[in-house]
Structures are given as C-alpha cells and as structure tokens.
C-alpha cells in the first residue's frame, strides 16, 4: 500500500494525509487539514480553550502520535477515575491545609512534551480549570505541579484535561533515590556559588597585592582574602577531600589527590605566610582552582541527573493500584503494595497487570512487549501464567496472585541488572591513566625541589616547591580533559544524544562491536500496514475502510495500524481473544483476523509466506475479501547506520528475544550476519560477556525491560528515545531525537574529542616542561605565573570549543 505519497500534512501532528481520509478543523478562520479524528479532537480542544497561539509558538511537532494517544485514551478514561481513589492519592496528593477542603498540591509526570510551547499549552489549559490556583511545568524534568482547591475539581478531571490536549499525565511520587539526588543537586549549586563569589572577591583583593601596595595595608588585605577563602576551602572544596581520602584508602592515585593536596598546601602555606609576613599568598589561586574544577563536575552531574527525568521509579511499569475481589465477591481498590499472594484480582482491559499470577477466569491477550520484545500480544486462557508489568489488551480477566514484590519476574530482571552493573568492565580512562603517572611525577618533583633548596639552605624552599605544585597542577589535566569532554557532550546533546556517564566519550572510539535489539530499536516497535491483496471485487481503499471500521473501537495493537484510515460504518463489533474481530456492515457479517477465524469454511493459503510480518484475512459470510499484511517496520536509516558501522570496521550483531522468523528477515534486510533469535535476557548478557572476554569492547543499543541486564553489562549502553524508564536509567547514552544515525555522529565526535584531549594534554605537558624548571629554579614571579597560566588555560579551552562544530547527523551519513 502506498497511501503516503506526497500530499498535505496534518496541521496538528505533521503526518501526511490523503484526499480520501481527511478531517479538518477551523483554526484562526482557516480550515486546516487533520490526519485523523484524534488530531481533530485535540486541535478542537486547543482552539475552544482559546489557546490556538500554541500553533504559533511551537517549534517542534507533537511527540506522541494522536492515533496512539486516542488508543490509550480509550482505556485511560476509565483508569483516570482511579486517580480519585484514596489509596492512590495518599501517594501523590499533598493537602496543604491538612484537610480535604483546603488547597492541595499534586505532581504529574507529563509524557509527550516536545518543545516549550507544550509547557505553555498545558499550563494555560490546566490553569483555566475551576479551582486551580496555579500550574507550573518544569521543562527539564517534565513534571507538572498543580495547586488547586481540592473540593472544586477531581484529580481525574485535571488529568483528563491534559489527555485531551494530546499528552499523558501520570501521578508522580518521589523515590528515596530521587530525593537524595535532589538534595545532591541543591548542595552542588551552593558549593559552586560560594566558590564563584569567593573567587571574584579574592581576585579583586589580589590585584592590589600583585600591583604592590603600601606595606601597612598588605597584612590587612591578606587577612581579608584569608577570611574569604576559608568558606571556599571548607565548604566548596569538601567533595575533593572526601574523594581523595577514599581513593587513598583504596590505594588509587586519582586527580583528586593532587587537587586536594594543592588546595590544602596552598591554603595552609598562605595562612602561614599571612601570619608570618611571608613573601607570597595563593588565596586567589586556591579559589579559582576550586571554582573551575567544581564547574566541570557540576555540568557532568547535571547531565547525569537529566537521564532520570521520568522519575527513576524502577517499578513505574507496575500500576499503583489493583482491583481486589474479596471472598464475598465485592471488588475494592487496594494499593499495589497491599497485594498478597493468593489474592484474586480483576484485570480490566487496557490496564497493566500488578503482580505475577495465573489466569483463573476469562480469555484475553496480553501485551508482553516490554518484557520479551515480542510485539504481538499473546493469547491467555485459564491456567496460563501472567507476568506483572505486562498489559491486558482485550477483555477482563480474573487472576490469582502467585508472586509479588521481590519474587516477581520484573524484580528478577532487576536483580540480574544489579549484578551486571557490578561486573561491568571498569573503563580505563585516558585522563585517569595519565593522571596517576602525572600525579606521581608532580609529587616527586615538588618534594625533590623542596629537598634540594632546603639542603641549599634557601629559606624560600617551601614556597618554591609550592609554586611548582601550583604552576603545574591546574592547566595540565584539570582543564585539558574536562573542557573537551564538556564541549563534546554539549555538542552531541544538541544533535540528539544525551551522554550521562563520564567514560562514554573516551570508550566510544575503542568500540568494535555494536549489538542491537530488534523490536523497538531497529524497528519502530509497532505494527504498520505493509500490503493489501484484494480477493473479491472490493478495491484496497474499500477493504481498508471496512477494516478500519471494524477496528475503530478496539484497543488491540493491530487496531493502531488502521487508526489513520477513514472508516466505513461497521456496527455491533465483537472481539474474540486471540482470533479476530467481527461486525455488521450493510447486512453482511464481516470477520477480520486469523485466516481460520475469518474464513473457517476451507483453509486458504497465504499469498506470500516468505514476506515478513503477519497475514490477516478479511472475509464476509459469503466470501473472503482480502489479505492484509502487517509488519513491524524498520526504522528510517536503519540500513545506513548498519553499513556506516561496518564501514568503520565495527562488527554489528542482532540479539532478539523474539523467537519468530522476523529476526532473520530484519537481519537480511540490513546486512547483519551475526544473529541470535529467541534469546532470554540472561542469554543476551552471556553473549555480550563472551565477546568482552574475547577482548572486544561492546556497545549495546536497546529499549525494553528485557534489554536492561545487557545494557547494564555492556561497555557502553545506548537507549533509544521510546525506551522504558528502566532501560533509560541503565543506559550511559540516550538517543533523544529518535534517529539512529546520530550514533555515527557520536562515534566521529568521540574520535575527534580524543584527538583534542591529546592535543590539550600535549600542550599542557609542554607548558609544564618549560615552566617547571623555571619555577623550580625559583625564577617565576607571581605575575608571570598568572599570565602564563591564563594564556595556557585560554588556549586549552579555545581548542576544546572547536568540538562544537561537529557535523550534524544529516551530513555525516546519507
């Protein structure tokens, strides 16, 4: 089927629309094309709320496809009312006045924010609701804090208003880890501020000292500088001291050791010098040094925290509440931590399953994609096992709980992940390696310089040794590497790749194998229409209209493939779990689904059994009407990234949990020769371990829960943008623009970064080779040291800033 040839684009979501399947909405007096009823409804809501300026402000198209949203909306309407239950509200609603009548505050995580205009839209829409005092959306962590008069509007109505704009809202409650990270972030900002303000002030006071001022004021100025430096050393520089002590205890020479040593020695000697009218004080160097180092670490921490923006709640897959059926047959809502083994729960269609268990009653299909990577729902009947965290798709089920909490399968995967993380090969960092040699050298040279001058009977021996330490320390390593890494991280972030761990840029150039997951990584992870083969006198468009009509109200993943198609009026639709769907049209009974369900009279052969995907049959009660092929289509540019990697001499492997033949088809289409299908998370991890033991550096690209252990174990883990929260928090790198080819940009960028780091370190070493003997000889006056140091730093920083000119993903690969 080729319905997506060049035509108009949907005004709301930017999808292509065709003449036959167009809706429209009046925006600002102009009739604008819409691709589907979902977009139309959202656009109408926006216009009716007086927020049409959204379309003027926005810089990005919506992230969630409205077809997908409408789908989740159907099931969400009902589940939203659960937000009103007390069991759930206890977790995320704070009553500010202490009772149910006063003001309340709740935090929601919003899904689907693509640009700043989304925040504007949501804040204004929620602000219009009765009783809402204010609504503030944080663009960096996508959290919406709403404060409202509790008795005037229900929580579910607030959430529904957000859904109607085309976003998903789920309640948020901070975990322990999240709280701690929050405190850590605040403390870091304070440390940075104290160091920054202190540096400015001490430098201001250092100028008259350098220029030379009247003897009687010198002592006073030095004293003032000392007072100002004290909080910088005691408060701001504390993280370096604790890290240095920890490293010394584990017998490790890291940069923290000479950094701490330089700070402490320079500070103590300056105090001594102040009190004893010594020749030199180094308060300004101490402050500046601390400030620059803190700044580098602060930026790194911010990038790391950004990853967990979805709340870092490992168990977000599990619903917060469950419907328990009591012994007397009465249903009541309980919080999910109150579920006990042996409880009987009712599972509504479209809801996540809260615990592991066994089906007691009912027949439905369950979407286990997040855990197994299998994108088609699996049919379940009485006696079958259910896994917590998966989704019930079609019809209600009654389940008996067999495992909760730590014993549940989801927790098992998490334990596997924890273990993999501990065993993760420690990346030998270039900076660390050089640092430990360099640190040792600096310490030896400084102490021998001191010994030499002391034996010569020079009274300035200590200060000469100290100036060696100060002159060599800052530029050489503390600036050379971090500035390059920061510039490269920022440049890659702009191009859609978020790096959260320090080792990534240094390990990337050494990667010699990239392992992909299939579903959701190389493929879109959702079914799309591939082919229509009419069998009777109806043409493809008519056939699709009939199927769209049948599937209109279905929540099954198959139905999503037909959302954007204009539907015919089909009535009395009825689903049969795992089989198909039937309905009435023009007095005919239509059936759509598996061939033996749609046309049970005689077995029909599939038109082309070699084609990838799934053939489904549409039939009336008189004759088969058409074959339709659905498949999980490949991501754009999946082929070019594979060939791009292979050109760079990197091996490409495909590991998929899907046991079907589609893995082979994908591998063939992309030219991947190394393929393993039907592998469990344990086997995936074992395969990666085997490669690592053979000396390879492995990068894993994945998205699902089943990829989590292997993501944790790989040298570098990359999660795609639609990945589950758990996968994202375990990844070192996250793709934010959904374009796999950004990976190639990252590889090239990392190589360039490595080169620039080498240049910077080379320059710094050269500078030190010249400066060190002069300083050791005691010939470096303070002003010369200051100019030399600044010039050297400036050169290093400018060189690092060249990394901002990385090629954009488009130009790197065609």
């Amino acid at each position: 089927m080729n319905a997506h040839s060049a035509q108009e684009r949907c005004f709301h979501c930017g999808e292509a629309t065709t003449e036959g399947e167009r809706w429209s909405t009046l925006v600002d007096g102009q009739r604008q094309p819409m691709c589907c009823p979902g977009c139309k409804a959202i656009a109408e809501t926006i216009v009716a709320s007086g927020l049409k300026d959204y379309y003027r402000h926005r810089t990005e198209l919506p992230e969630l496809s409205p077809a997908e949203l409408e789908d989740s909306d159907l099931s969400a309407r009902e589940s939203l009312t659960l937000y009103d239950s007390e069991a759930l509200q206890r977790r995320f609603v704070a009553h500010l006045s202490g009772n149910q009548q006063g003001e309340a505050e709740a935090t929601f995580i919003i899904d689907g924010i693509s640009c700043a205009a989304c925040a504007w839209l949501i804040e204004h829409r929620v602000g219009q609701l009765p009783g809402v005092k204010n609504a503030v959306l944080n663009l960096s962590n996508h959290r919406l804090v709403v404060r409202w008069q509790f008795d005037q509007i229900a929580v579910s109505s607030i959430a529904e208003a957000i859904y109607r704009l085309g976003y998903k809202a789920s309640p948020f409650s901070a975990t322990e880890q999240e709280e701690q990270r929050h405190r850590e972030g605040k403390l870091a900002i304070r440390r940075l501020a104290v160091a920054g303000i202190g540096t400015m002030q001490v430098m201001m006071m250092a100028v008259p000292l350098y220029v030379g001022m009247a003897e009687q004021y010198e002592f006073f100025m030095r004293l003032a500088s000392m007072v100002m430096t004290l909080p910088v050393v005691m408060f701001s520089a504390r993280p370096f001291f604790t890290a240095a002590l920890r490293d010394l205890r584990t017998r490790h020479l890291t940069m923290d050791v000479p950094v701490s040593l330089a700070i402490v020695l320079a500070f103590c000697s300056s105090i001594w010098s102040t009190l004893n009218q010594g020749i030199e004080v180094y308060f300004d160097s101490v402050c500046m040094f601390t400030f620059f180092l803190l700044l580098g670490r602060f930026l790194e921490m911010r990038a790391r925290h950004r990853m967990g923006k979805a709340g870092n709640n490992l168990l977000t897959l599990l619903p917060n509440i469950a419907l328990k059926v009591g012994d007397d047959g009465v249903e009541h809502v309980i919080a999910s931590e109150d579920i006990r083994i042996g409880d009987v729960l009712r599972l509504k269609p479209g809801h996540a399953i809260p615990a592991d268990g066994v089906v007691m009653e009912g027949r439905s299909s369950v979407d286990e994609a997040a855990l197994t990577g299998e994108y088609l729902p699996i049919s379940k009947k009485a006696g079958d096992r259910l896994i917590g965290g998966t989704f019930n798709v079609e019809s209600p089920l009654l389940m008996k709980v067999t495992a909760t909490g730590a014993e549940a399968q989801l927790s098992t995967i998490m334990r596997l992940m924890d273990r993999a993380q501990q065993e993760k090969p420690r990346a030998a960092l270039l900076a660390d390696k050089i640092a430990s040699h360099f640190v040792a050298a600096v310490l030896i040279i400084s102490s021998s310089v001191f010994t030499f001058w002391w034996l010569q009977g020079n009274e300035h021996a200590f200060f000469i040794a100290l100036s060696v330490l100060v002159v060599t320390c800052p530029c050489a390593l503390s600036l050379a590497t971090p500035t390059a890494l920061t510039a490269a991280t920022a440049a890659l972030r702009e191009r859609g790749l978020l790096i959260s761990k320090g080792h990534v840029l240094e390990v990337l150039p050494q990667i010699n194998r990239v392992v992909f997951d299939k579903t959701g990584t190389l493929t879109q992870g959702k079914l799309t229409l591939e082919q229509v083969e009419p069998l009777a006198d109806l043409d493809a468009t008519q056939v699709l209209a009939l199927i769209a009509g049948l599937e209109k109200h279905s929540t099954h993943p198959i139905a999503r493939a037909f959302r954007a198609i204009k539907s015919a009026a089909v009535e009395n639709t009825e689903q049969t779990a795992g089989q198909g769907i039937s309905g009435q049209w023009n007095g005919l009974t239509l059936r759509f689904g598996r061939a033996d369900y749609a046309w049970p009279a005689a077995p029909l052969a599939e038109p082309d059994s070699n084609a990838a995907g799934q053939w489904l049959l549409l039939a009336s009660d008189q004759q088969p009407l058409a074959w339709v092929r659905l498949n999980d289509s490949l991501r754009r540019n999946a082929a070019s990234i594979v060939s791009g990697l292979q050109q760079r001499g990197i091996a490409v492997s495909l590991l998929t949990g899907d046991p079907g033949a589609s893995g082979q088809v994908v591998a063939d289409a992309l030219g991947i020769t190394d393929l393993q299908t039907g592998v469990s998370p344990e086997q995936k991890l074992a395969a990666v371990r085997a490669w690592q033991q053979a000396g390879e550096r492995v990068m894993m690209v994945g998205d699902g829960i089943n990829d989590v252990p292997v993501l944790a174990g790989a040298d570098i883990a990359l999660a795609v943008n639609e990945a589950t929260d758990l996968a994202k928090t375990n990844a070192d790198v996250m793709l934010t623009n959904g374009r796999l080819e950004t990976l190639l940009t990252a590889l090239d960028g990392a190589t360039k970064t490595r080169r620039i780091i080498a240049q910077n370190i080379g320059w710094a070493l050269l500078y030190n080779l010249i400066a060190l003997p002069v300083a050791a000889a005691g010939f470096v006056p303070p002003w010369a040291a200051a100019i030399g140091m600044s010039f050297s730093s400036l050169l290093v920083v400018t060189n690092a800033l060249r990394l901002n000119r990385l090629p954009a993903p488009d130009s790197s690969e065609v």
């Binding site: 925006v27 109408e44 927020l51 049409k52 300026d53 960096s140 501020a193 003032a224």
Partner: protein, 65 residues
C-alpha cells in the same frame, strides 16, 4: 586610605548577604528548572488571549474558533 579598614569588612558583609540570598533562592527551588523560564518569557501573550467561551471544563468539539 584608612577608609579601607571599613570598606573591606563592609564588602565581606555584603558578600555574606549575597550568599545567603542565593542559598534562599536555591532552597525555594529557583534553580531547579533552568530551561522553562527562558522560553516562558517569549510566549507571553502578545495579543489579547481569546478567552474560552465558557470557563468550565466543557470543551465541546466545534468548528468555530
């Protein structure tokens, strides 16, 4: 030049106050979102907002703006 004995301690005092104000700003969460305020200022409604016809949460689909 003896004024310096007053001015320098005064500047230290002012810095102390500045740091305290900064700490208060951090505590009240002003540094938590470094992105939205920069964008928000651009969106302020340059034209009078077309208020919704009814302020309730009723948003009936309509073809009219």
């Amino acid at each position: 030049m003896d004024i310096i004995y007053i001015l320098v301690p005064l500047s230290l005092l002012l810095i102390g106050i500045a740091v305290l104000i900064f700490f208060w700003a951090v505590k009240s969460g002003q540094f938590e979102d470094m992105e939205s305020p920069a964008h928000r200022i651009l969106f302020d409604d340059d034209e009078p907002v077309s208020r919704p016809r009814n302020d309730t949460q009723d948003d009936k689909p309509s073809d009219k703006p």
